[in-house]
């Protein structure tokens, strides 16, 4: 079942430098008084392959990233029976174990919550203009997404 009217789904999107709060997005989603909430957080991983990461930093084309996240959220609200959607991405330095992105979906039933949240993070990684720079413990740093274009 999908919403005939996507305006029924309140959407919150943001790009921010401040740490992301899972508690804040939980409260936004719980206010929907639905039955299910799915949240996905992308966090800074310590070890990738053989390399140890000290921190990540993110840069966004901010005005466009906000529009693009809203477009994705509206698309999800059309495809699934959603009640509320939130997408927030952090910029600047994100230390190990902290969240760079939080995606959340409130729904009546659990299936659509999982499906819409998965859709949103998958699409965010393809189309939202944000770039990740990995700073390794050995002092080197590299922009991600660039490897295959060199």
């Amino acid at each position: 079942m999908s919403n005939a009217d996507t305006f029924l789904t309140p959407i919150h999107v943001a790009i921010q430098e401040e740490p992301l709060s899972v508690d804040a997005i939980w409260h936004f989603l719980a206010a929907a008084e639905g039955g299910g909430i799915a949240i996905f957080g992308g966090t800074t991983r310590r070890v990738t392959g053989q390399r140890r990461t000290a921190q990540l930093s993110y840069e966004a084309h901010e005005s466009m990233a906000v529009l693009e996240m809203r477009r994705l959220a509206e698309e999800a609200a059309k495809r699934w029976d959603t009640l509320r959607i939130v997408m927030v991405h952090r910029t600047g330095i994100v230390p190990v174990s902290e969240a760079s992105v939080l995606i959340g979906v409130a729904t009546r039933h659990r299936g659509p919550a999982f499906e819409a949240a998965r859709f949103l993070i998958d699409e965010l990684k393809v189309s939202v203009p944000v770039w990740k720079k990995e700073h390794f413990e050995d002092g080197s740093a590299e922009w991600q997404g660039d490897a295959w274009i060199r």
């Binding site: 840069e59 084309h61 990684k125 944000v130 770039w131 922009w143 274009i149």
Partner: protein
Amino acid sequence: MTVTIHVFASLREQLGRSSWTETLPDGTDTEALLRHLALQSPEIAILQDVIRIALNDRWVSTATSLSQGDEVALLTPVSGG
């Protein structure tokens, strides 16, 4: 006409600036702009095939005519999340 160019992340670092203006003949489209910029900048030239363009905060996938005051972003493959 004059448009503003924006670059980010690795391309911003390589070019040493995040935005600048370009004065172009009327009727220039996004593809012609990219070819023009690639001729001026080896950093852009080497990335010409992978750069995607956003016009006024929206992706454009085909050659699109530019207008006075447009904001054009040259975007390398994104890696957020």
